[in-house]
């Protein structure tokens, strides 16, 4: 399926880069008249993946910037996030029990829960010491 438009961000390992990327992604999606609800979900899921990488990557693995590419296709948006580092598959594991989390004041695992709940597909591959995450939102 032909791409309508793409945008690529190089994300450094700091919070300002998260804001810049989110801002750029929002402008790109709004500029291409993507549905408002879908924009909110893509915005949050992408943020969660990038924040998770930045928060959990050890210093030794921060030599290269994180690649974040968003592609608009005919009836879906795909976000591809790639970074060099230890293997971390966010498609693994079960969802947290939200009610138990809430009742015990716990918040671990919420980021991954958000990504997997908001996206229609989340795919993961690890190749050549690189984590590749693909998020798909159907339009």
């Amino acid at each position: 399926m032909p791409e309508r438009a793409t945008i690529t961000f190089s994300v450094t390992y700091d919070g300002n880069a998260l804001d810049r990327t989110r801002s750029g992604l929002l402008a790109f999606l709004k500029g291409n008249a993507i549905d408002t609800d879908a924009i909110s979900e893509i915005e949050l899921a992408t943020y969660e993946v990038l924040a998770n990488i930045i928060e959990h990557s050890p210093a030794a693995e921060r030599g290269e910037e994180i690649l974040c590419e968003c592609a608009l296709l005919q009836n879906r948006v795909e976000v591809r996030i790639e970074h060099r580092g230890s293997r971390f598959d966010l498609t693994e594991g079960s969802f947290p029990d939200l009610r138990e989390h809430f009742s015990k004041g716990k918040s671990s695992g919420l980021g991954i829960y958000i990504v997997r709940t908001l996206m229609d597909a989340v795919e993961y591959a690890y190749t050549g010491n690189r984590n590749v995450i693909r998020l798909v939102k159907e339009l």
Binding site: E43, L110, G111
Partner: protein
């Protein structure tokens, strides 16, 4: 991107915490510290007014969960109010709408106490 803004006020016996901007991984630790102070004061009745909140991430949700837990353990109650459509939809999709006590306006939230 609008950064986090917050303010505290008292409406009778209820503490109203107004939050705006972004509750994300960068801003949530500051809010967490402030809300911890509120818990340590023994505050029992809290409305969190979220009308100006434009973006909330897992970090922000974690702060709300932790704060709710702290106040509840003190024998108190936290309710949320005035969420805009964007935040409401995210709460619904994630299932948080059923966990927190949520009111459409601050006035209705204040009547919950």
């Amino acid at each position: 991107m609008s950064k986090l803004q917050y303010s505290l006020s008292e409406k009778g016996t209820v503490t109203v915490i107004t939050i705006g901007g972004s509750m994300d991984v960068e801003t949530s630790p500051e809010l967490h510290r402030k809300l911890t102070e509120v818990i340590e004061k023994g505050t029992k009745s809290v409305v969190i007014s979220m009308g100006k909140l434009s973006f909330i991430t897992s970090a922000g949700l974690g702060v709300l969960i932790s704060f709710n837990d702290g106040v509840t353990k003190n024998g108190g109650k936290v309710v949320l109010s005035s969420m805009n459509d964007k935040v409401t939809k995210i709460f619904k999709l994630l299932g948080f709408i059923n966990l927190f006590e949520i009111y459409e306006s601050d006035q209705k939230a204040l009547k919950a106490f």
